[in-house]
């Protein structure tokens, strides 16, 4: 069923080309997936001018909301928003159901893994993972040994990165268990699309995301120390100059809780207090958006001015709960990532529902040899970096870059892993005067409180540059709203 055109300058998505890539909205050139048809038909009724006008309107709404960053080196105080594309990405109810199960399984297993690693280390004794791999990791935090977080949960908030390969399967790229950012974009992007494409919400059953604040608050309340019936829950931010400050303020606002900086808090006798206009007030739960290493200068980085001296002591005593628990980064190490299927099998006795991308660990002599011989085909990543930093994309790299990475890998093999270059899926994106396919990834956000909840939506990042596979905002990527569709059978 093709949309009817009324003659004037519509975009005619009939001419949209998938170029052989898996596409999130099209099954073939000019043919929309059945579930995406109502959206495509609607876009087709809009003239080019109208679509551009709506794109401008969306950008203006985001600009006025103040989620902006300063243009580096600009003295006039010019501010910009992250690029935003108004054409949403869609996830079918079926795909979502599988993702949801896959995420819950991973997070359950990874929590058991972190608890085990910092306590009994059974998985090491059983030789499922080589001990050297754990103890050589920069993310293994000795001060966390013996920690038992409230209710046994370490990773209260996580954002699993997925990509879809040419076969249409979703693969996990990263688990992001250290308080990932980006959820504010999910909520803001949705608010924008409800304003500029309201009609689509009438024809499609799109699952809402606006109750995230409620879920987050419940997750945090769940871990409050016993006996604190009306717990004082706060968000802890590094401060106004942090690039995610908008998000920290946004989340505090969504939950109606104070947003504190390190200097607002003080620890006395292993109890955390905040400085209020009426004196010191005890703090019970902290959703901290400060990295582990800056959290407590008495324990981690001594020079950190962002953190709260003594907070780890209060945490160990059970007088305050932290989300996420410190130490979760061990499960984010990209070399450990390679073992996640085994971790799932070991703790849950199940096969992984969501697949890993095959990963070569450079620390392993045989695997390193393969990596070095195939640098032009593989993606090489530093195990402890994210955001698209410390990365080599083989097929798009120069000889010199490959040589440089060969040197880096040989010097510090533990620091690198490699993966085959995936054929990332694409989604239609407004580019100039037309609509073209651009590569995307997908990060849904999960909360682990009384149970595991994954918000039916997420952040779709899009590589605006033609052919680029790097979606990170630090590398010029933008974002899209993500529509998870409700199951027709369930809702009707």
């Amino acid at each position: 069923m093709r949309p009817q055109h009324n003659g004037h300058a519509t975009l005619t998505l009939e001419t949209y080309k998938t170029d052989g890539f898996y596409d999130e909205l099209f099954s073939d050139d000019g043919v929309a997936h059945p579930s995406a048809r109502p959206l495509i038909e609607q876009i087709d009724t809009l003239s080019r001018g109208e679509l551009k006008r709506r794109q401008k309107l969306a950008e203006n709404i985001l600009y006025q909301s103040g989620n902006t960053f300063n243009v580096y080196g600009d003295k006039k105080g010019t501010e910009k928003i992250l690029p935003f594309d108004i054409i949403p990405r869609m996830v079918s109810a079926r795909d979502w159901a599988k993702l949801e199960r896959g995420i819950a399984q991973r997070i359950t297993a990874l929590n058991l893994f972190i608890q085990d690693i910092y306590n009994d280390q059974k998985i090491l004794k059983d030789k499922i993972i080589p001990s050297e791999l754990i103890f050589s990791s920069a993310c293994y935090l000795k001060p966390c040994e013996g920690l038992k977080p409230p209710k046994g949960v370490w990773t209260h908030i996580s954002g699993t990165d997925f990509v879809r390969d040419g076969d249409g399967e979703f693969y996990v790229l990263e688990d992001n268990l250290r308080c990932p950012s980006g959820i504010s974009y999910v909520l803001e992007n949705r608010a924008v699309l409800k304003r500029i494409m309201p009609a689509a919400f009438h024809t499609l059953k799109i699952r809402p995301v606006s109750d995230y604040g409620d879920h987050l608050y419940k997750t945090l309340r769940h871990i409050a120390p016993d006996g604190r019936d009306d717990p004082n829950i706060i968000v802890l931010t590094p401060g106004i100059y942090n690039s995610a400050y908008f998000e920290h303020a946004y989340l505090a606002q969504q939950m109606g809780v104070p947003l504190a900086q390190g200097s607002d808090l003080v620890v006395e006798n292993d109890v955390v207090y905040m400085r209020t206009t009426a004196g010191l007030k005890q703090v019970d739960v902290i959703y901290r958006r400060i990295d582990d290493e800056f959290l407590d200068p008495q324990i981690f980085r001594k020079e950190s001015l962002l953190g709260v001296p003594g907070i780890m002591g209060a945490y160990r005593k059970g007088n305050v709960a932290l989300a996420n628990a410190p130490g979760t980064g061990i499960a984010d190490d990209k070399a450990i990532y390679a073992y996640v299927p085994k971790i799932i099998k070991y703790y849950l006795g199940e096969d992984a529902i969501s697949h890993n991308v095959p990963t070569y660990i450079c620390e392993d002599d045989k695997e390193r040899e393969y990596v070095l011989a195939n640098l032009d085909k593989l993606v090489v990543k530093a195990v402890n970096l994210s955001g698209g930093y410390g990365m080599l994309i083989g097929p798009k790299s120069t000889r010199a870059e490959q040589k440089e990475f060969a040197r880096l890998i040989q010097a510090k093999p533990r620091e690198y892993i490699a993966q085959p270059t995936l054929s990332l899926s694409r989604a239609p994106t407004l580019i100039g005067n037309g609509i073209e396919g651009r590569h995307v990834d997908f990060r849904p956000y999960s909360l682990y409180g009384e149970e595991i909840f994954t918000l039916p939506g997420g952040l779709t990042r899009v590589a605006i540059k033609k052919g680029s596979l790097v979606v990170n905002s630090s590398q010029g990527g933008g974002s899209k709203d993500t529509w998870v569709l409700a199951d027709e059978a369930e809702t009707n």
């Binding site: 946004y250 606002q253 504190a260 607002d264």
Partner: protein
């Protein structure tokens, strides 16, 4: 409420009120100069700088106090901490640190005003600015409206209200003082009551007080305007009115603590400064001298608020 947050809300409101008042100051002078039919060479802009209290900074950096220089200094000068641009910048920085406690629309209003100011500051012509000043004043009204209509009357509101009222009391007093600094070439023009009426009419207009004033006093003269702007219990921009509101906010913040806070004590002293005088007495002893003392006491209140609520 976090001390830092209370401090930021207080200053957010103060800076916005200050930007609003500076726009009013420039407005009053523009009208005054036009009404007095002074040519651009004898037009007086320096009194505005003197009234603002930033005269030292101005004379150090500007050669002459003509319209262009003064307007530039008070509107878009990056180095003048009390220029409209700087006030709005600081209001926004403060608002940014308290976004979680103020309604979204309030933040968006401040943000919008900031972006408008940024784009206007690139314009060079003074004549083009009338619309901008109007926008600043309108934003002030919108901001106050949002504050009153969308914020719970909890601590955040009380601190914002306190900041706004203290700033307004300060600026209304300074506005009254403008005559002290006006040194016109022909001193005798001030004996002419027609000019007196013109001058005070412009002052009243700049604080949106002309109509309300006339309903009470019908004709404009020095003594009645001073009476109205200092002591009116009914007009919401008079010094008396602002102080009563500020004192009430402080009382709510103090709660039922038996011991009076330092802030409340200083506030009481400030109110006494005002109550112990009347207009005739103030005029005979010198309005300028009175306002000097008043402002010194106002600064003490500000310091005491810091000590009582923000210092921890």
């Amino acid at each position: 409420m976090l001390s830092r947050v209370a401090n930021s809300i207080y200053w957010m409101a103060r800076y916005l009120e200050r930007a609003d008042c500076v726009a009013r100051f420039i407005d009053v002078n523009t009208h005054l100069m036009l009404d007095l039919a002074l040519d651009q060479y004898s037009a007086q802009w320096y009194p505005l700088v003197a009234t603002s209290g930033d005269d030292e900074d101005f004379t150090r950096r500007y050669k002459q106090a003509d319209e262009r220089a003064v307007v530039r200094f008070m509107t878009f000068d990056q180095s003048n901490p009390n220029s409209i641009l700087q006030c709005i910048f600081r209001a926004r920085e403060n608002a940014r640190t308290v976004r979680e406690v103020i309604p979204v629309e309030m933040w968006e209003k401040i943000n919008e005003l900031y972006h408008l100011t940024q784009s206007q500051s690139r314009k060079r012509s003074v004549a083009d600015l009338a619309d901008y000043y109007k926008e600043v004043r309108q934003s002030g009204h919108l901001f106050t409206g949002l504050m009153h209509n969308t914020m719970s009357r909890d601590m955040g509101w009380q601190f914002a209200h306190l900041g706004q009222m203290l700033e307004r009391a300060d600026k209304t007093a300074r506005l009254l003082d403008v005559k002290y600094f006006l040194l016109l070439p022909h001193n005798d023009v001030w004996k002419d009551s027609a000019y007196d009426a013109v001058q005070w009419g412009a002052v009243l207009k700049s604080v949106n007080a002309l109509e309300m004033y006339r309903q009470q006093f019908h004709t404009t003269n020095y003594k009645d305007v001073t009476e109205f702007l200092l002591f009116s219990r009914a007009f919401p921009r008079s010094v008396q009115f602002c102080l009563e509101d500020a004192a009430a906010a402080l009382e709510t913040l103090t709660g039922d603590k038996a011991k009076l806070s330092m802030a409340s004590r200083e506030m009481t002293t400030l109110c006494k400064t005002l109550h112990s005088s009347d207009t005739s007495h103030i005029i005979s002893a010198g309005l300028h001298e009175f306002i000097d003392i008043f402002q010194a006491n106002l600064n003490l209140v500000d310091e005491a608020i810091y000590e009582t609520y923000f210092k921890l």
